[in-house]
Symmetry: C2
Subunit: 302 residues, 2 copies
């Protein structure tokens, strides 16, 4: 069994990004600039945004924090989105979710120019990904694909079972892995991406264990601790655990610990490859945002 070390791969990618940005600076060119819109003062959102800004700074990107009050109207927030769409100094931007209840998230997200949508959450980018057109892929699916590729885990012709049908993980990762491999990433051979046979499972699926036992690769993104058990996994499977769940743990200084959706102690001995939680998919997600920003920068400055 090999652990898929997302923390280490993410560090490698950050080093690659830093080298590329250093080269840009030395060539006298401007560097990528990411805008981050935060509405209100949700503490979790503040932390996420701070981490994203820190990640930008580590690789030499510029980051612009656009802080707006929680009582901003939907119309004013839309105006801000349109301003960022038009701002030539911004290569890409994200609107940190959740938004206050009086604002419709899909209205705001849909207004983002897909070429600057580095979260890859606009319908335009999702549709372009589905249709195999050049697109920005949302962070977690991109991170999963990159993790598989860096470990040379081929998906072509393999049976991938995706558990969960969220808009940010399950549906886009399924679409990404079943595509013809024309969505190549720098440094990857096209043949390592896509061409999988994909099954999408969810809460209404009947006999999930039997379906999982036919999988070569299982991607679990259900938000349910311990969902994937040993009886659902045949020997030699690759397991990607996207879940991040807090469970009470009085022995921990914080009173809780983080676990994924996989019964790791029982499942991991059966696997060829498996991601740990934490340290697997999580670190790949934030580095994917940086890669998306660089991709938008290259399109923008072409």
């Amino acid at each position: 069994m090999t652990l898929l070390d997302g923390k280490q791969i993410a560090a490698t990618i950050r080093a690659e990004l830093r080298a590329e940005i250093d080269a840009l600076r030395q060539a006298g060119r401007r560097v990528p600039r990411l805008g981050i819109v935060i509405v209100g003062h949700n503490p979790a959102s503040e932390t996420y945004v701070a981490n994203k800004i820190k990640a930008c700074q580590e690789v030499g990107f510029e980051a612009e924090r656009i802080a707006l009050e929680a009582d901003i109207s939907e119309a004013d927030l839309l105006r801000e989105v349109h301003r960022l769409n038009a701002d030539p100094a911004i290569d890409g931007f994200i609107v940190q979710l959740p938004l206050p209840a009086h604002i419709c998230e899909s209205t705001i997200l849909s207004a983002i120019d897909y070429r600057k949508d580095v979260d890859g959450l606009t319908p335009e980018n999702v549709g372009r990904t589905v249709q195999g057109l050049p697109s920005i892929v949302s962070a977690t699916p991109r991170g999963i694909r990159e993790l598989l590729a860096r470990y040379n885990i081929l998906t072509a012709g393999r049976h991938v079972v995706v558990i969960g049908r969220s808009n940010i993980v399950g549906k886009p990762v399924a679409m990404l892995l079943m595509q013809r491999p024309y969505l190549s990433l720098p440094g990857m051979s096209a043949s390592s991406l896509g061409d999988a046979t994909v099954t999408i499972c969810h809460s209404k699926t009947q006999d999930l264990p039997a379906i999982c036992r036919t999988a070569d690769i299982i991607i679990v993104a259900a938000g349910s601790p311990g969902l994937l058990t040993a009886e659902m996994v045949r020997p030699g499977t690759t397991v990607i655990d996207v879940g991040i769940n807090r469970i009470d743990d009085p022995a921990s200084p914080r009173g809780y610990r983080l676990v994924g959706d996989v019964d790791f102690p029982a499942v991991s001995p059966l696997c060829n490859y498996i991601t740990p939680v934490p340290g697997g998919v999580g670190p790949m997600t934030i580095v994917s945002l940086l890669q998306n920003t660089l991709q938008a920068y290259h399109e923008h400055t072409r």
Copy 2:
């Protein structure tokens, strides 16, 4: 074994549409108006466009044929698209494919306002369908869903195997049937739509027969005559055949006959339900275009 009679269901739907349009006329309201752009003089395209105009007239819609010469520039065709986007008299429009080689189809399709995109082929509409937002679904997937619903064939919790990953059938029908059932259609109960476990298979899939034998519903859209054989189908399966292939037949007056992707004589005795070819999915596709146009009209006149 029950034949899924697309021809008859389509006639029923046309009668429903005609009744609704008659009621609009009697109430003194305008009727839906569909624009059809045809570029050049491809004989097959001319026939398709003539059939679509005839279908509009039969149900009382207005149709406007916009014929452009084959040497039109991409820029001029884009201008025509923008004009139609802005024309308040047009509820929806389609650009008949294929386009001449010097014009990029995805550039033209992407420029159509998704609210008028009654072919449901813009990335925006595809992405909205994937994300479960209100959208216009492309004709064949919508027709398949309607056919299943009219025969009360539930998809919730069932295993649907889709063979083929085209942008117009395989990918959108997979996304449609795995969704939470919030995409309701008039006259259907929400519970009859979506919530399926979906597997997408294609040319790179290994052991397709074994996967098909786990299916409750098989949707074949591969363009390969006789692809689905009896050994791939367990008794009680529902089979939807989207293929339309011409094969030589000296005994036919035209010298050919139309067959689907299913070995119908061998497979049909095993099925609970199966679509014939012709007369199954085909007639549903053109009636779906009419339903999409009416949907756009209702959104437009709200």
